[in-house]
Amino acid sequence: MRPRITFWRTVFVAIVAAGLWATWVRFSRGLGASTNLSDQFPWGLWIGFDVLCGVGLAAGGFAITATVVIFKLERFRPILRPTVLTAFLGYLLVIVALLFDLGRPYRVWHPLVMWNPHSVMFEVGWCVMLYTTVLSLEFSPVVFERLRLPRAQRILHSISVPLVILGVLLSTLHQSSLGSLWLILPGKVHPLWYTPLLPVFFFLSALAVGLSMVILESHLSGKAFGKRLEMDLLTDLARVFVVVQAVYLVWRFQDLAGRGALGLAVSGSFPANLFLLEVGLGSLLPMVMFAIPKIRHNQTGLFWGAALAVTGFVLNRLNVSITGLEAGTGVRYFPSWMEIAVTMSIVAVGFGLFGLAVRHLPIFEQHEAAPRRLRRMWVVRGANAA
């Protein structure tokens, strides 16, 4: 069967073609020929967006697994698999992006044997590697179910609680540590973003955006695969988002005021305006929207609220990693078309892989049979033991 030519498939092919060309230039001629990075601005789009945002946007993974497996809120189970899939793909793509950015990608394994526990990067590297392994295990039951390997599925099910706890711990560590990366630059990062609380803020904002991503992903899946939306679940997530975001914002403003940096926000400078955009449009507005029941219970309202929250999150990470440093060092940076092409390709490949997984694996199907049988088995075994 010949694949139909659709608008989105054309866009996909165009993006990936540009990305492949950029990939060739990047690996044959180096970072100088392919990026706008320089001695004055050594980290750009690939770190600021692909790595920082990629990891943050995948935070729904640990939040939802914890909800279902640790807190046993079983009604969230229908969104467990798509969320774990999103997180797993997210982390795999973060690693791909990192391989583009590292000057010597074939040495990416070095931190495994060459240790420097004082380095935040060392810790983040270990956590990301371990958590990607955890995610692959959390996702594997889907594959085992497809391959009809009930024994393997049972083994994975029996270790699910410690596995999810490990995942939550690892996520807490590296989501926050991504913020700690900038702690060593007190004079370089703009005071609107530099604070000793950076790790706390990175964690809270990742948790909030993780929930928004689940909402967004559900909507896109609904559109693409004709899936019915679990509106009641998404509305609940929106409610939790309001709480997390409120804590984040109150803490953030309290910190800004405490450091005497609040005045800078209205100074009219370029960083100040980006700050207002980030906090006003990307943090406050979605929180207010989701606090209104009418919007929270409405499909379109949920979609736009989540989209705004994700935009605000991306702005925050780019502000910390690019705007905040530009202001402190007086250097301008804008990514080259090749950097943008690689980033867009990675995102496009993520969408493509998600689509493939949904088509070939039991992601959305009701998989009631297996868990019920398992539950019964456990209960009986417990009874016999007594």
């Binding site: 180096g30 100088g32 001695d39 640790i70 590292l102 040495r107 060459m114 004082h118 807490t172 009874a383």
Partner: protein
């Protein structure tokens, strides 16, 4: 001995012999460039007639070595902050982290290295001077033990009133460096970063990083505890339902659940 250098900008004549000697000693190709690069590790800036050398400060608590995930950059026993290129993965965190903007990258190479002044660590470990200090015709750059040079710097300030500003740049900046500067005007006017804290920058990171074991221990215990309580409660609920329904297939459920 803890190797260090003292650079007296009032003595420097701007002849650039140090930059030439550096290129030769470290095998760096090309002309001396107008900014530090991967191939120009030191140069002399002309700030309105005052000549100011630009080079790695060889911090006592170097940010670059602290942030390096693989320890490719390290503070050597002898004093210089050196680089093991075989370890480097090219993450460039050192370049982001350095408060003086010193490490540079070989952007034009497919397999690049981070490059910066390594304080002639090979020579220093053999008991020799750095190449730049050895060649300096005006004794503007002098080489020696850190404590001795610091005392010498303060002696010059004391014995030549009016010649110097009363600050040895590098004595306290970011917890102290192994390269000291003397000048006849405020260092900020000469282009030195002025807003640096007097304490070690890696401490800022360590305050967060050192909490990790606590987060793991306390967080892990709390999550395990929550999971235990929730699971037990859920099981009791299920048993109660089964019992109320009088499910004959599970006759001994109550005992199992009561534990």
């Amino acid at each position: 001995m803890h190797a260090a250098m003292l650079i007296d900008t009032t003595r420097c004549v701007g002849c650039n012999a140090c930059s030439e000697a550096c290129k030769e000693a470290n095998g760096l190709p090309g002309e001396i460039e107008s900014d530090l690069t991967a191939r120009t590790w030191t140069r002399v800036r002309d700030v309105d007639g005052t000549y100011v050398r630009q080079m790695c400060m060889h911090c006592e608590h170097p940010s670059c070595a602290s942030v390096c995930p693989v320890g490719a950059l390290y503070k050597s026993e002898a004093g210089p902050v050196a680089y093991d290129e075989k370890k480097c993965i090219g993450c460039r965190y050192c370049m982001v982290a350095c408060p003086f903007g010193i490490p540079k990258y070989e952007w034009d190479r497919a397999l690049p290295r981070v490059q910066k002044c390594i304080g002639c660590v090979g020579r220093v470990e053999k008991g020799q001077m750095t190449a730049c200090a050895e060649i300096c015709p005006a004794e503007a750059t002098t080489f020696g033990d850190r404590d001795t040079l610091l005392a010498e710097a303060h002696r010059r300030i004391r014995e030549n009133p009016g010649t110097y500003v009363e600050q040895v740049y590098g004595e306290n900046e970011v917890g102290g460096t192994s390269v000291f500067f003397l000048a006849n005007q405020p260092f900020e006017a000469l282009g030195f970063p002025a807003n640096l804290p007097g304490s070690s920058l890696p401490d800022y990171t360590w305050q967060a990083l050192s909490k990790i074991p606590n987060v793991v221990a306390i967080g892990g215990t709390a999550l395990l505890g929550i999971s235990w309580i929730v699971h037990r409660r859920m099981r009791l609920e299920r048993l109660a339902v089964a019992e109320a329904a009088g499910d004959p297939a599970q006759p001994r459920l109550q005992e199992g659940g009561a534990r």
